[in-house]
């Protein structure tokens, strides 16, 4: 095992315990090609008589995603994004930059937007995770998703799941955001095709507001035809 297997933990005391266990384990883990069964046994042995600790070897655990409990194999270094995409077959959240620069992997953790590439999967254990798939489906879409399609707030669509998720989080805390608030809330979501103005309109309309279109005095005459 290498250094990225070191247990991730919040409290100093727990961290100490984990580090001690990790050191005890080196002898086992270094020589082991960890199969699921072996890992479970090794972890069980380590955990005997102490508080439940996951890792350092891959372990079966679960996530609560879109209202479903999903079992998966976690290593301590597995990010939430990797767990969702590579273990749970939930591919709405996209891996784009893998360092929270683009927002493509945005999911909701306890209803708050999180770049899932920057959160360890084990830290999401027991928490309510919502991905774009959980916001709505093709057969039962959320009004925001309908507005996104209606206003053509996408081209290639690769950033779209992250955009929808960030916008949904905005609307949950600010049901009628103005244009500046929408721009700010989506400033972490990069779109390379360049659809921002349509995204703004989709969010405005999904929150029951008028899109940014202005009264006309000109109609078709712009292309040289008579109105």
């Amino acid at each position: 095992m290498t250094k990225d297997s070191s247990p991730h933990s919040g409290s100093p005391r727990k961290q100490d315990v984990s580090r001690r266990l990790f050191l005890q384990t080196i002898g086992i883990s270094a020589a082991t090609v960890a199969t699921e069964g072996q890992a479970a046994n090794a972890n069980a042995a380590l955990n005997a008589g102490g508080p439940a600790i996951i890792g350092p070897l891959p372990a079966r655990t679960s996530l609560k995603v879109n209202g479903q409990k999903l079992d998966y194999i976690a290593e301590p270094a597995t990010t939430l994004l990797e767990a969702l995409r590579e273990q749970c077959n939930i591919t709405g959240p996209k891996e784009v930059c893998d360092r929270a620069a683009c927002g493509g992997c945005t999911v909701l953790v306890d209803d708050r937007p999180v770049t899932s590439c920057m959160m360890l999967a084990l830290d999401a254990t027991g928490r309510k995770i919502t991905t774009v798939e959980g916001i709505g489906t093709i057969d039962d879409p959320d009004p925001l998703q309908i507005a996104m399609a209606e206003f053509d707030a996408m081209q290639c669509g690769f950033c779209t799941p992250g955009v929808v998720t960030s916008a949904k989080a905005l609307l949950a805390t600010n049901p009628q955001p103005n244009l500046d608030e929408i721009r700010a809330a989506l400033s972490g979501n990069l779109c390379r095709c360049g659809t921002y103005p349509n995204i703004f309109n989709a969010v405005l309309v999904a929150s029951g507001q008028a899109p940014v279109v202005e009264p006309t005095d000109r109609g078709r005459s712009v292309s040289g035809e008579q109105a």
Binding site: E86, Q87, E95, C156, G157, D217, R220
Partner: protein, 712 residues
């Protein structure tokens, strides 16, 4: 502002074949149901990662292959070289059972490199650029004969495509076949290229690219990541996943090359240009070619020209690939800023001078509308403003060719009235799927709800790659032909059964009519079919009745504010007028134009690959340091679809990205009175320009107003 704001939807109402059609896969994309190549993840597949050079130029000293192979999860290490000519150059690849195996394997491999001297750009080494041809005598004479001569030097940076879905593919075995899920702009290109590595014949390869996460010119070839994936699939017989990570995407999947352009112009006091010499140097990284820039564009009258002086300059960086309108935005930046500089020297309104130098009738009308919509009458004379925040207005232009390629579209009419449009070409976000569906629906006369479109699969009828903006222009004639065949088949059946004249039947919103009389609903007519009917429309890539008439031309006007204390440029509004022949789907066409403007704004203000001059390492190979435009930087954009009475479908993907940076650079010049001749228009460059004297005027006359120019 004295001008009234306008309703964008009213401006473009009635200009397209399908004004209200919504992107057919919009909901699939907004709900996460759309599965891209990069989403084709299986638990038991192999992962591939290239072994890459970390410096501008380096020699491999050692690597520990055995240690890598002994790492849990690593299944194969292939090393085929020991020197790297740029950061990201590859010498082999590693195959592992999972992501962690790849990461650990690469660490265990412990490649040690010796860094060597390298060259990192075209700007720093006059010698390395090599000599240019001697100036043409005729042009030199014309320049000399003019009232004034003007020399300037312009430059543009390396821009990376930065598609959000990285390059790569996933290959899975399917009996004797291989299914290749690729992120590509060319379904059939992948099918042709991957076989060599997979060791399979073309007929055993199926390419699927139903959803592609962005393609701006760099996804025509399978690349090294694709080749390595193919080889790994061949040697393992297993499913293989080979995608670049974000850093590799910036390093080794192409870019818009940098440009250095030296201009020498002779002009008269009234702005007439007598002659011009353009010398261009294109930075091609390690590639031998691909650094060309389209300057001058041919849109403006420059008198006697000396303009084929181009040299590609190699240095230690990844090579270029076509990027949305290759060579054009950089060329437009040089040419359009040059025109504004000459206008200023002569005390002319640059819009007026442009109208004198440009002989396109369509753009002449576009200039007037662009000026009206942006509020050109509010433009202050260049350099006349003081204070911290200064407002500027600028214009840029574009045109595009009429490229086309062979294409087939199949339409299947089902007995329930459903129409299936089938095309193997890809929809990289352009709206190709929706355009084909909406065109067939409109041509037959049925609601779009009756249509589904199968796209992005090499088993479907062949069509062009998404390049040169030829895809929609080429597939549209084939779709029109297929729709007409399907329509005729159904109408003939109705005519025969009801003893009517098929030529007198029409279809309106799903109802077959004779004169004003309803004959039968489309669905009911189709119900008489005993089995689905398939027809195929074909475009031979040259001309047909469906090719029609049209051209792609555009004018953009930008309004900016410049903060003269910080040097920051804010692009407030861009009017983007674009003709593309007959627009098919209003919403997706508007999106294409907006996307061009946004990428052009991003190019103007932010984007620049930075090489470390000592090590040759790329210093900003990820999105937190390679800045692309975000939601808070986004200007207000009015995309105007300019139809006139054009009947043929023409290019739309590339042209709108051409004028934007030029228009913005002109607006900045207008605001601060000094040209910033290097992109991007960084704050430090704006401040440096402000420290210079005001741009020179050689003709001491009061500037004429736009109205006077218009009359002239």
């Amino acid at each position: 502002m004295t001008h009234q704001p306008r309703d964008l939807r009213a401006i473009n109402a009635g200009q397209s074949v399908a004004d209200h059609a919504t992107r057919l896969d919009g909901l699939a994309k907004a709900t996460g149901a759309a599965r891209f190549g990069r989403d084709q993840i299986k638990k038991d597949m192999l992962w591939v990662r290239l072994i890459r050079c970390p410096w501008g130029r380096a020699k491999l000293d050692s690597l520990d292959r055995d240690a890598a192979l002994a790492t849990p999860g690593v299944v194969e290490v292939v090393v085929s070289g020991d020197d790297g000519d740029y950061h990201g150059d590859s010498i082999g690849y590693l195959v592992a059972r999972n992501r962690r195996g790849l990461e650990r394997g690469l660490r265990a491999l412990n490649a040690k490199w010796t860094r060597l001297d390298c060259q990192t750009g075209i700007l720093d080494d006059e010698q390395a650029r090599g000599p240019m041809d001697a100036p043409s005598e005729a042009a030199a004479k014309a320049i000399d004969a003019a009232d004034f001569s003007f020399e300037a030097r312009y430059s543009t940076p390396v821009q990376t495509h930065s598609s959000l879905e990285t390059h790569g593919l996933m290959i899975e075995p399917d009996g004797e076949n291989s299914i290749v899920h690729a992120s590509t702009q060319g379904t059939f290109v992948v099918a042709d290229q991957i076989g060599r590595f997979l060791g399979k014949r073309r007929s055993k390869i199926v390419v699927d690219c139903e959803y592609v996460g962005g393609g701006f010119g760099s996804k025509f070839q399978i690349g090294k990541e694709g080749a390595a994936g193919g080889l790994a699939a061949k040697s393992s017989g297993e499913a293989v996943y080979s995608f670049c990570d974000r850093e590799e995407e910036h390093l080794d999947t192409g870019n818009r090359p940098s440009l250095l352009c030296k201009v020498n112009v002779g002009h008269d006091a009234d702005g007439t240009i007598r002659g011009a010499r353009f010398e261009t140097f294109g930075g091609t990284g390690v590639s031998r070619r691909g650094g060309g820039a389209r300057v001058p564009s041919g849109r403006f009258e420059f008198g006697t020209l000396d303009a084929r002086n181009h040299r590609d300059v190699q240095f230690n960086a990844g090579g270029p690939r076509a990027m949305r309108a290759p060579g054009c935005p950089q060329g437009a930046f040089v040419e359009e800023l040059l025109i504004d500089e000459i206008a200023h020297r002569c005390g002319l309104d640059p819009l007026g001078l442009r109208r004198r130098l440009d002989d396109s009738d369509r753009r002449q009308r576009m200039y007037a509308v662009a000026a009206d919509l942006i509020g050109w009458e509010n433009r202050a004379d260049t350099g006349s403003q003081s204070g911290t925040m200064r407002t500027g207005y600028g214009i840029g232009t574009c045109d595009w060719g009429k490229g086309r390629a062979p294409a087939k579209i199949e339409v299947v009419v089902h007995p329930d009235g459903h129409l299936e449009v089938r095309t193997g070409t890809q929809d990289i976000g352009t709206g190709q799927r929706t355009a084909m569906g909406a065109l067939v629906a409109a041509r037959i006369g049925v609601p779009l709800a009756n249509i589904s479109v199968a796209i992005g699969d090499s088993r479907l009828p062949a069509g062009p790659a998404s390049g040169g903006s030829v895809c929609t222009p080429s597939t549209a004639p084939a779709a029109m032909a297929a729709a007409d065949l399907a329509r005729e088949r159904i109408l003939e059946g109705v005519a025969e059964r009801d003893k009517l004249d098929a030529t007198k039947l029409t279809i309106d919103d799903g109802v077959i009519m004779e004169g004003g009389r309803k004959v039968v609903r489309w669905e009911d007519a189709c119900r008489r079919l005993s089995e689905p009917v398939s027809v195929t429309g074909e475009f031979d890539g040259r001309a047909s009745a469906y090719w029609g008439e049209g051209s792609s031309e555009g004018v953009q006007a930008a309004r900016v504010e410049v903060d003269c204390e910080t040097g920051q440029v804010f692009v407030r509004e861009v009017i983007a007028i674009q003709s593309c022949g007959l627009p098919l789907v209003r919403k997706t066409a508007e999106s294409q134009i907006m996307g061009g403007v946004i990428q052009g704004t991003s190019y103007a203000l932010f984007e620049e690959q930075v090489l470390d001059p000592t090590t040759g390492a790329v210093l900003n190979a990820n999105l937190e340091s390679y800045k692309i435009l975000g939601s808070e930087d986004c200007p207000k954009i009015i995309p105007v679809l300019w139809r006139d009475d054009q009947t043929g479908v023409r290019a739309l993907g590339e042209p709108p990205v051409v004028p934007t940076a030029a228009a913005i650079a002109n607006a900045v010049f207008n605001a601060i009175g000094r040209p910033v001749r290097d992109l991007p228009l960084r704050p430090d460059r704006v401040l440096a320009a402000l420290a210079e004297p005001m741009a020179e005027r050689v003709v001491a006359v009061a500037p004429r107003t736009t109205e006077q120019e218009n009359r002239a």
